[in-house]
Amino acid sequence: MSAHKFQVHLGGLIDLLSHHLYSGPEVYVRELLQNAVDAIAARDDAFDPRIDIRLDHGPDGPRLHVRDNGIGLTEDEVHRFLATIGESSKRGVDAVRKEFLGQFGIGLLSGFLVSDHIELYTRSAKTEDAPVIHWRGHKDGTYEVGHDPDRTAADFAAGTEVILTARPDAHALLDVDTVVGLARHYGSLLEPPIVVHDGMAAHPINDEGAPWRQPYASPGQRREALLAYGQRVFNQRFFDAVPLVSSAGHVDGVAFVLAHSPSLAQHRADRAYLKGMLLSDRVDNLMPEWAFFVRGVLDVRGLRPTASRESFADDDALDLARDELGDCLRRYLTHLEQHDPERLTRLIAVHHLALKALAADDDESLRLFIDYLPFETSLGRMLFRDIRVKTPHIAYTPNLDAFRQMAAVAAAQGSCIVNAAYAYERRLIERLPAVLDGITVQEVDAASLLESFGELDLDERDLFADFLAEARHVLATRQCEPALKRFAPTNLPTLFADNPDAAFVREVERQQDEGDDLWSAVLDGVAAERARAMPKAQLVFNLNNPLVERLLTVDDPALRQLSIQTLYVQALLLGHFPLRPDDLRLLADGMIGLIEFGLDAHARWVQ
């Protein structure tokens, strides 16, 4: 076996880079700026760093010059950087000085995204008498290098100038507005002053710096300035702006409080800069999960981004930074609670879900904000402070169907049941007793509500035993047990009190009525454990209801049976329970039977 060296086709490599490593050809601006910034960082003598981008028209088309006064390259380094291109593709991940050359090459290659030739003049800052080196690279992978006799140390200070000539299809990418826009997009937070010159005007790119690091005359001015910045960045108006800082991961920035309630299903999308250079607008794991009521703009100096550039590596440093950023938001909310409760109320009106998410996992926040949080209850939507005034014993149900069934009945009795079926309510409520003195909580279901209903006395039991036996007979095949109680509201003849196991088994049976044998057997197996518990729903007849009261005195068994089956189906319909085919038959038979009964009675009356 013998060793051979394969040829790498530079053009193909560029295409590969532009389609995979880079998101689009416009990133050439980012890469050239990053090279310039790295070169400045690599120089350790005293100098005033700056980066100038100049646009002009050369013999072959529009040109762009990027000039920095960084470390520069010696002739030997110019040869070496090409030899080391691709040695490290982790630009920005470990931007340490020793990798400067390898990264410099990768960054420079991005010039081929818009130009077929790259020209580079460079003079090393390492020695006073370093010559100016001229390098010219072509897309086919060839290059020339030599001293430039026309440029001397006197008229070319240490540093590097890269010159690109736009290909015909890339003219728009070297247009002054585009270049200024891209430079601001990527580099507005970079430290060395950057200016774009187009022959007529100079366009400062980063003279304003990070707005959250500027001094302001008053907190009000600061807030206005940050809100204006947020609107420019995200193209939307925000409710408030909260400064962020974390010593872990060396992060600072601003959280903008959204003016609308976001979808909880939406992924986070914060804008993050890495040491001043834009990393992404879609960073998803830097802010705490519960902070979905804000969008952040953050500059990060001490965390590692992942290869996708949309997240930071999930390590201890990130955890610490996220916690510190979360603390900033907590402090903001606490400040509002103490000094501006009116604003907090307005914020919670929009973002109660986020506040619930926070409070569900954080005792301190729970204690602070619980009174401001709204809950859906059987008595309507109420703030917690109003619920606790009504009763310190909080009844709740984590089951949406159960809540719907109970709400009207509970309301008629003046009792307050909290709907805890939504995303964070259950956890919030269950943690209340541990955090607030004097509050107790109790999970209730329809069955426990029934316990509060008036029971029959012994005589009534005797009197209505036959009715219940008859009802039991009618409901025999429906996983449902009849009962007779007294409850409000009196206009409700029956209450269908379900339980989750019974509902599941009933749903399985409903599908089995329609389904094929194979699925029927499988569903039997899936429901077997729940069915073993013999769960039953309850159909409770309301003895306070005039119709039911009359029904109990009817001595015609056929009429009683028709009425029971019709009331059963009506209860299902009121609770929006899906009807099985035999429920529909029951309804049809009941209705027709009752009509016939009425017609017969009418005929008798006429006679």
Binding site: A265, A423, G515, V522, L523, G525, V526, P578
Partner: protein, 364 residues
């Protein structure tokens, strides 16, 4: 916004966090209302939303129920609904079936045949169904069958309904761990561990699979590192009950009972009542490992909130709870052995080493 308008309910469901139970309940209610109104397309969308929500919130029984409804409607109206998405759901369901001991072997076989047949257009070589058959064989305690299906699955070309690249690598690693080849398992998941491949559950469950084997191989630093990294990922996914079991028993064998107890408490509500009983059995084994270690350490009582009768007022009588958990394990072990007609799962569950049992438990 109305609670009786199925469109509103479905929108509300879609705006809920992906893994929340609220999303499931809202979608189910929307489905009922659409059905009551005879709106088939709306009902199909709502059942599909409910099916997805059931999967992510830890309700595989409901996922199966919704899928069965959708398949029936699809068969009644062959060109009306997106078959590809539906078959994805079906694939998830079939893999869960052996976890319910009341479903007979013959029915599971019939479902596998039906699912494989329906997927042929998207999976001509049957790669996806062969991999599921490998898993099913393991859950049925059929070791020779598992070896046979593993060979067929790994030789088959992938179709468009095959799992994503990250899941494939994770499955490959699990295969090698099953064969006791730690290094080959590690080699299989290189791109997953360095972040080049990821999905909703990988590398979460990948780290969980490796920690106990790494610790046993004496690579304790790496095991500790992967335990931390993996737990950070799974602790937000309560439904990944099997992975939680691994992270719990790891803290048992490393002697960190404080953390083992905290981890157990965090997901015990779902884990100990998980509807799919094979996963619940795995979680019961992890619970047994924790309670056993507490008893060995001489703790008669511990402040720990477990569901049902296992704790009272947030305190657990360790020996009484251990006895209850052993009974539940025995009941499930018997049910699986009776259905499987092998003793593989039962013997594993009854072994004196619950940590080893969790490590070797067939968890896709």
């Amino acid at each position: 916004m109305s609670e009786d308008n199925p469109y509103d309910l479905l929108s509300q469901a879609r705006a809920m966090p992906e893994k929340s139970e609220a999303r499931l309940l809202l979608a189910e209610r929307a489905a009922k209302l659409f059905e009551a109104e005879g709106q088939l397309d709306g009902a199909f969308d709502a059942h599909d939303e409910a099916c997805d929500a059931a999967c992510w919130s830890g309700h595989p029984d409901k996922m199966i129920l919704h899928t069965s409804w959708m398949l029936k409607k699809h068969d009644e109206h062959p060109d009306r609904f997106d078959e590809f998405i539906l078959l994805w759901r079906y694939k998830w369901c079939v893999a869960e079936l052996p976890g319910f001991p009341a479903i007979g072997r013959d029915k599971i076989e019939d479902m596998l045949d039906d699912c494989g047949r329906r997927m042929l257009g998207f999976d001509p070589a049957g790669e996806a169904i062969k991999k599921i058959r490998f898993w099913v064989a393991r859950m049925l305690g059929d070791e020779p069958g598992a070896h046979d299906w593993a060979q067929q699955w790994r030789a088959a070309e992938q179709g468009i309904i095959s799992d994503c690249a990250a899941c494939e690598m994770d499955n490959e690693a699990e295969y090698w761990l099953w064969k006791g080849e730690l290094e080959r398992a590690e080699a299989a998941v290189g791109p997953v561990l360095d972040g080049r491949r990821a999905c909703a559950e990988v590398p979460h469950r990948t780290y969980a699979r490796f920690i106990v084997p790494l610790w046993r191989a004496g690579r304790t630093d790496q095991a500790a590192d992967w335990d931390r990294t993996g737990y950070r990922l799974v602790h937000k996914h309560p439904k990944m009950v099997g992975s939680h079991a691994h992270h719990i028993v790891y803290r048992v064998i490393t002697g960190d009972l404080d953390e083992a107890v905290a981890r157990l408490e965090r997901v015990a509500g779902l884990g100990l009542s998980y509807p799919q009983q094979m996963t619940r059995l795995c979680f019961l084994l992890a619970t047994r490992a924790v309670l056993g270690a507490l008893a060995d350490a001489g703790r008669d009582e511990v402040a720990l909130a477990l569901p049902g009768a296992l704790s009272e007022d947030g305190r657990v009588d360790v020996n009484a709870a251990l006895a209850q958990v052993r009974n539940q394990i025995e009941e499930l072990a018997e049910a699986f052995d009776a259905r499987n007609q092998t003793r593989t799962i039962g013997d594993l569950a009854r072994s004196d080493d619950p940590v080893g049992a969790v490590e070797r438990f067939p968890m896709p």
